[in-house]
Symmetry: C2
Amino acid sequence: MSAPVYLGIIGVGGVGTAFLQQLARLPNAPKLILLARSNQTLLSPTPSYSPAIPAAEWKTAVEAPSLTKSGALTPDEIAGYLASAPGRSILVDNTSDPALAGSYPVFLRRGVSVVTPNKKGFSSDLALWKEIFAAANEGKALVYHESTVGAGLPVISTLKDLTATGDEVTRIEGVFSGTLSFLFNTFAPASGSSSAKWSEVVSQAKELGYTEPDPRDDLNGMDVARKLTILARIAGLEVQAPDSFPIESLIPSELASLPSSAEGIKEFMTRLPEFDGQMAAIKEGAEKAGKVVRYVGSIDVGKKEVRVGLQQFDKDSAIAGLKGSDNIISFYTRRYGSNPLIVQGAGAGGDVTAMGVTADLIKVVQRL
Amino acid sequence: MSAPVYLGIIGVGGVGTAFLQQLARLPNAPKLILLARSNQTLLSPTPSYSPAIPAAEWKTAVEAPSLTKSGALTPDEIAGYLASAPGRSILVDNTSDPALAGSYPVFLRRGVSVVTPNKKGFSSDLALWKEIFAAANEGKALVYHESTVGAGLPVISTLKDLTATGDEVTRIEGVFSGTLSFLFNTFAPASGSSSAKWSEVVSQAKELGYTEPDPRDDLNGMDVARKLTILARIAGLEVQAPDSFPIESLIPSELASLPSSAEGIKEFMTRLPEFDGQMAAIKEGAEKAGKVVRYVGSIDVGKKEVRVGLQQFDKDSAIAGLKGSDNIISFYTRRYGSNPLIVQGAGAGGDVTAMGVTADLIKVVQRL
């Protein structure tokens, strides 16, 4: 319980930076011995794995003569370094790198636990998912990834508690993208009305920094599809890949072939108004039925169906009433009956995503 | 990690029975060595603490000649029995007994972890709260009590994650009683309208079994006050006792002195219609402001204020839109900003309460 635990961190982007701030204030934090950013790696010298890297001063720690500096290390090298520490060790992957996620089995098999908000390891090929959990079993290591769905919201932990205690999850439904939440809450509000055109709302969201640099990365639905893949697998469905079920893209088919370059983004945004009529028709269709349209993901466990796309909702429903860029996730289960267990709140942002990572880290340290 | 863990259970009421069902289906469940109900205790014989009591057949296990039968044991005797087991042990208290809760420090000091939905230990005098956590520290034992607030909903765990990762919880607000949720959702629905009188709604809830046998135990607000006490303490407020802040009772003062006997219950229900006008006025007052009235609890952490009572809410707010007997709990924090983190769903019932207990048990076993 009181043996030191060692920590390696990869990635110092928005989530990584917020995580380092939280780590610096954590009582009984594990010893930070590796911090890797793009082409630079900072390490505590071997074989003592001491001194630790100060989390609070990580930006200037690279100047400390007592620490080892290196260029980029391979996942194998990092796994070897962490696995040889004189105690249990944990990798926190704060990147969205699919290659690093593909190496989780290497870490886990060597007894290095993994904590991460990186969706790639859990939402790519089913083979990787299975290999990750088999490797964790083999290496007696732990894998926690709360922030892969809904950022810091208690989504993964709640679903795992439901299944682990023997409840039968029948359906999961919700708004899983902060960006798409904002777009539809603004374009088709449940109370009051909006005259804004679809392309205007997308432009506004882009300017506010609510979308990815390329808004098509939100509009294609793949981020939502990856989250659904993770939840469906925890609920027991063998989803082969994040594109092995219907995903409704909000990119007009006429614009689908534009390049992903800056030029392509510009042309996409310029031509998007041509399709405002299509989105207006979808909005009006819902309004005629007294409803609003939302971009949702749903999993029907019994029918083994996963879907991502537009749906109509009653104006007094929880999904319709969502504010800002909030996420909402509803779990329908045998025990909870007709009224689902609902979790709602900010599902994106550095601080809340890092919170999920930090909370996972605390739980892993408690279990090691 | 693979050393056997031993389990004692006290209480086989609604929650206790549901918990035993879940335990019977749990993979790698701890070994059940003590099962105590009112005046009867079933034990695995010492010194081998074997065989275990079969959770699936607990009702007939009393006839098994291989098990030890006894009358009621004192908490000290039970703590001694569990602490002497050849491994770590856990007490699950499925009662609402304040005396047993007062003995948690005895268990914890001897290294016996405690898992319970019993609010009494955590919502009585602040001295007991402090003694419980000091004893856990001393005995290197764990205390989990998710089901003391919102049954199986992830309320305690979410609040602990928020505070442990360094977020600043500024306000907690919600509907914490399934009974009072049903009463107000029925009496003053947010959509549509109801002509039912207050006393009729209370009678209906009583007949449906949604209230305690004595509905005054719901209407006095003390159950909500106990839940608020627990959350406020986790959020860092030193609440002395569950009645050391304003609690608005829905028992008319003219009826406050009726005895708690069956006669008293009957007279209370007979005379309640005399006060329908008062509740109708409260409902109409809210309606004139375009709002609905709800019975809520709130904690303002900065102002160190805890309140339990009636409040008005916008009709499109999440609290107003609550269905059936659902609970809703909103956490306002620095990181989550103006839109709170919300947890919603059934907050009462044997199965979902037991689920919180079982999920806690799994976590304690993982950490021991």
